[in-house]
Symmetry: C2
Subunit: 268 residues, 2 copies
């Protein structure tokens, strides 16, 4: 059985530096989720550079994807001893949807000092966590398709904050692919972008489209649930950053992301 | 009188989407500083997209620059109503040195909520701040050229930490272009990368080359000194992230950056 994540991010080579993929309707948040579409583009980058792990990935989102075929153009800029860097553009019908810049390598072959001064969120077990009521689906009016593919279980405090608002713009919870497929470095760029925006805990907004997302993958995750800590500290004139840290079942920080997004007004 | 920053980041159009610039020897940290070279590439991007402010910029550093001519190839991916996105590659003699992905717009035309929950560092006045002894020049053996172009004055606590080590990986201080040129959104991508690495406060290392740098410019800075807060929280197997926040003289957050860098062993 192929996991939906693997099936829906598969790409096929169609020429030198050219790949095709398919944007399915199973990862929608109204439109196809940005982290999901990014993972399609990264499947092509990974195939082009032939390195296992995305150390640093940035995507700029140019226009929302439609469901259906997508073409990915990859340009390998560096094939070094330990790292490779490529740029990619994912387009549909010739219209660029997102642009990617990514450095790949092998995290297992890095060496040097280790010093981590941040800690994973302390959470009740997953079975004691979860959304309260219809939040955050109420913001976009329907239960998004991605909710059947990615399971995010906020801590009781975060679940309450999503209903009551007025809390700090922070969310903590458990996250995994809903079919139980274990995390790897390929799906982390989706998972950092798959929980509700932390700003939902602090103010009434409409949807929050991502303009740019950068993900650092810091370790190969162990099997099992991931812990997520998501926060927004700086909102200026409707532009906000959001940071996400993901920790694996062995307590290791596996991904750090920051995105710049635009806050749309609440739907009336 | 043209400020060295403006003179040394100037570019000339040489064809459709093609520009030339010159990497001078005045911004070296051993090799030309990454943030400086990024600003040369961004001068070409800005000219290509015809928007005033870099909202989000990512650079992947492929190989260190030599002094001398550089060619910048810019591809405009989106010219939207309010935002434009372009990719760029800066090369020397056909060798790619850095790859850039940038979204430009006009920060003054954004609107929506503002909520900032982080605060600028509290610092003694600039005349009471500054390095102690020969730190951090000792790490690379010579006073770097960039020290004559960018003035960074660490707080007394940060100055002591750079000598004593063993402190948290955090540095705070004042920063500006050394000739007193006021900050603008063009030089912020340099200034987030121009102070010593915060990891120098916690461990003995060699140089710390940047692999990837992402900068969010959040506001147009007021004239005068900027306050910088620099921190590293996660070092894993010799790879580290570093974050920098810059605040202007009116107390506004003007830039946030995060980079992924590699810690080289101390020189023996």
């Amino acid at each position: 059985v192929v996991s939906p994540f693997d099936a829906d991010t598969e790409v096929s080579a169609v020429g030198p530096g050219r790949w095709t993929g398919n944007v399915t309707d199973r990862w929608d948040i109204g439109v196809p989720n940005g982290g999901y579409v990014l993972c399609i583009a990264l499947a092509a980058v990974r195939a082009a550079v032939q390195r296992p792990h995305p150390l640093s990935v940035t995507a700029h989102f140019l226009s929302p994807c439609d469901h259906g075929a997508a073409e990915i153009e990859v340009r390998v800029l560096k094939q070094g001893r330990s790292l490779a860097t490529a740029s990619a553009v994912l387009a549909q019908g010739g219209r660029p949807r997102l642009a990617v810049l990514a450095t790949y390598g092998d995290l297992r072959s890095q060496n040097g000092p280790t010093l981590v001064t941040t800690t994973p969120p302390s959470l009740p077990p997953p079975e004691e966590c979860g959304f309260v009521g219809d939040r955050p689906a109420a913001v976009i009016g329907v239960r998004p398709a991605i909710a059947d593919r990615v399971e995010f279980r906020p801590s009781p405090a975060s679940a309450r904050a999503l209903v009551a608002r007025g809390a700090p713009a922070q969310l903590e919870g458990w996250i995994r692919l809903a079919d139980g497929r274990d995390p790897d470095t390929d799906c982390l760029p989706l998972l950092v972008d798959a929980a509700p925006p932390a700003v939902f805990a602090v103010m009434e907004t409409g949807w929050v489209p991502t303009l740019e997302l950068t993900v650092h993958v810091r370790a190969v995750p162990a099997p099992g649930w991931l812990r997520a800590a998501i926060a927004t500290r700086v909102v200026v004139d409707g532009l906000m950053e959001e940071e996400c840290e993901l920790w694996d079942a062995e307590g290791r920080l596996v991904a750090m992301s920051r995105q710049l997004a635009r806050i749309l007004p609440p739907q009336t």
